[in-house]
């Protein structure tokens, strides 16, 4: 036997050894459940024939370009997991050590700054992608029966991603992140029922050691766990009902095979890493000073996606009592999540749902205008 044939045989033997003990195809199928590889895998077959069969299948219409936001979100999520684990090696979640450990990561750890900055930017881009995805779902009507679950899991995914970002911001434990969290939480804590409950969950309404360690657990364990579950749910329902009538599992007339799809995925991964590193080098997130409990910054610095609600609630509706503001906020969040049950009209084309589309466009424009107003005129908003 030639040497390369020998090596191939050895590899096959190793695979066989595992194959007889566990179903490797099941593990592979797990990957497809995360939306990276939208294909049904026959888990009864051994791994190699199963993959060969899957790769030869035509790409489902809902996985064709430009339907790339879903897999993009998954890739960003995975990137956040990897970079987050690296950061966790050095991060210490206690008020006396947090700032110092971030400084250590930024200054002294080899390429610590790169991991920190790409992790920060990755989080922002993940939220941005999920927002774009929801906007697209809205205008394409991807919440009408039977795709309610797709919308709801997508909206929840967005909310969870925002919370991962918000909890992550506090972990840097600097003057800006600390006071922004204090300001933000003041509103949340005025909410009936949810306020006290959240206060209890994050260790009291005072920001301190308990808050920091609970935010840490939320950030690295509970919320990423929830993201994983929601992603699974999201793509499970995509595989069953497709994205639209045109892009459904029954309509697979595409000429591409999954083999090409894998290459596209690889190109996407390379591009993501490129974009993140470029942002980290060219637009690094500022290094803010240590917390000064005696001086509260005049302006709150809400995250960019919260600038619009902040301007609306704090600047334009400043006179309202906190309870009312909080309730308004809560109602709009509930409206977002439960939208499929609010708009139950059967029409699916844009012409059929003109009122709803007009409402959505108005809301989106308001959000954009308020954000621009806040950032440009009020100078608020932290990257």
């Amino acid at each position: 036997m030639k040497p390369d044939q020998e090596a191939a045989a050895r590899k096959r033997a190793l695979l066989d050894w595992f194959e007889t003990r566990v179903n490797l195809t099941e593990f592979f199928a797990l990957l497809t459940s995360l939306g990276l590889f939208y294909v049904e895998v026959d888990t009864k077959k051994p791994l190699r024939p199963a993959i060969r069969e899957a790769l030869a299948k035509p790409v489902a219409s809902y996985a064709e370009w430009p339907r790339v936001l879903g897999p993009l979100a998954v890739l960003f999520f995975l990137f956040q997991v990897v970079s987050g684990v690296l950061l966790a090696f050095y991060y210490r979640a206690s008020p006396s050590e947090a700032y110092e450990s971030i400084r250590f990561i930024l200054r002294d750890v080899n390429f610590g700054w790169l991991i920190h900055q790409t992790h920060r930017w990755g989080g922002q881009l993940l939220v941005a992608i999920l927002i774009l995805r929801m906007v697209r779902f809205f205008f394409e009507g991807v919440y009408k029966k039977p795709r309610e679950l797709l919308w709801i899991s997508g909206a929840l995914l967005l909310l969870v991603a925002m919370h991962v970002d918000l909890t992550g911001r506090l972990l840097t434990w600097n003057q800006v992140s600390y006071w922004s969290t204090v300001r933000g939480s003041e509103l949340i804590f005025t909410l009936p029922l949810i306020g006290p409950l959240l206060g209890f969950l994050v260790g009291g309404q005072e920001m301190g050691a308990a808050t920091l360690s609970r935010f840490y657990i939320l950030h690295i364990l509970i919320l990423p766990g929830a993201t994983f579950v929601l992603l699974y749910l999201n793509f499970a329902t995509v595989r069953r009902v497709g994205l639209t009538e045109a892009a459904s599992p029954t309509n697979v007339g595409g000429r591409r095979q999954y083999r090409d799809y894998l290459y596209n995925l690889a190109i996407l991964i390379v591009l993501i890493v490129g974009v993140l590193i470029t942002l980290a080098v060219m637009q690094p997130v500022p290094f803010y000073p240590e917390i000064d409990l005696l001086s509260t910054p005049v302006e709150a610095q809400p995250a960019w996606y919260l600038v619009a609600p902040h301007v609306l609630v704090d600047v334009l509706l400043g006179g309202l009592p906190d309870l009312l503001k909080g309730t308004l906020f809560l109602v709009s969040v509930l409206l977002l999540v439960l939208w499929p049950f609010v708009d139950r009209s059967p029409g699916k084309t844009i012409r059929e749902r003109a009122t709803v589309v007009a409402f959505g466009t108005a809301a989106l424009l308001l959000w954009l205008l308020l954000t621009i107003y806040g950032v440009a005129l009020q100078g608020i908003g932290a990257p």
């Binding site: 400084r103 200054r107 190109i267 390379v270 591009l271 470029t278 080098v281 500022p286 290094f287």
Partner: protein
Amino acid sequence: MTWILFAALVQPQSVCVTCHPAERVQLEASVHSREGIGCESCHGGVPGSLDEERAHSGDFRGVPAREDIPALCASCHANPEAMRPYNLPIDQFALYQISGHGRKLAEGDEHVAVCTDCHGAHEVRSATNPESPTFRVNVPETCGRCHADAELMAGYGLSAEVLEEFRRSVHGEALLEDADPNAPNCARCHGVHGASPPGFGDVAKVCGQCHASARLFFERSVHKEAMDAAGLPECASCHGNHAIGPAGSELAGEVCQECHESGSPPAEIGRRLLALQSAAVHEIESADGLIAEAEQIPLDVGDYRARLELARTHLQEAYPVMHSLDVEQVTPLTTSARSVAEDVQREIYDKLTDIRLRRLGLVLFWFYILLTIAILVHLRRQKKET
């Protein structure tokens, strides 16, 4: 009529204020009214009477003459028994009499300051009251009421620029702008009630009260004897008096050349001291600039700031030693200041270079990214063809 009666009933002791309401308002703001010192204490008369003639009879003395005011105030303020409960000094009158003001008053000059000019007459406030003209920070303004009056000062051959000069000086800035509790006002050097300019021989002693180590090094220097022999005021010869600038600024001027010929050995020492000082200052300022630049990037500069403070401390230590005129003694201190600042600069510079390298690295990185993508696209096409 009833309100007069009412007033008489409420204050049977002093009804003067019934006819003198403006003075009443002033008096009530004063420390004296709080301690029960009434009109009659200074003005005499019969305070209980509402009858104009009777009220202004007896030992009534009206507005006290200016020359009598110090003695009148002293009738209580030089009395140990009367002052003991307030823990106030009793030597003001004695000091006043030997002050420039007191001596001129004794000569019959009524334009000089008496007690009421600084303290006010009816509205005397405690010197710890920020509203008082004798409160620490208000003193320059109070003295300036006369001493910045060019017309008045001309008669005594005194400069009326002193207040402006003081405001611009390091002392004035520290007192009036930074509210530094250690900063001196006029009285800190000239005395309070015994106000007079320090004599030539006393300047070093007066300045040395605060600048103790500078005085120590000065007294060991050759300047001490030479200046005393020449009858020159010690500190003020180089530093000036009211318009004192920040430490070290004198050397930058041509102050040495006022006595020493340019190029002579003593002037050379001055030049070397200036060189040592300005080199250290230059390095510290450059480091400061680099820190500001690095902060924008953003790089964490907390440590560097602390270390630069250390450099500043070394330089601060060097200033008193410079009065010894001993270059050997000054050099180690300015050198430490310089080397700390240089270290900080070097380290920040390394980091800034690192940042520039990152950008360069990014260009290379994109080259590899595009290469990888090209390979992937090529592989995809190849697979399709096979």
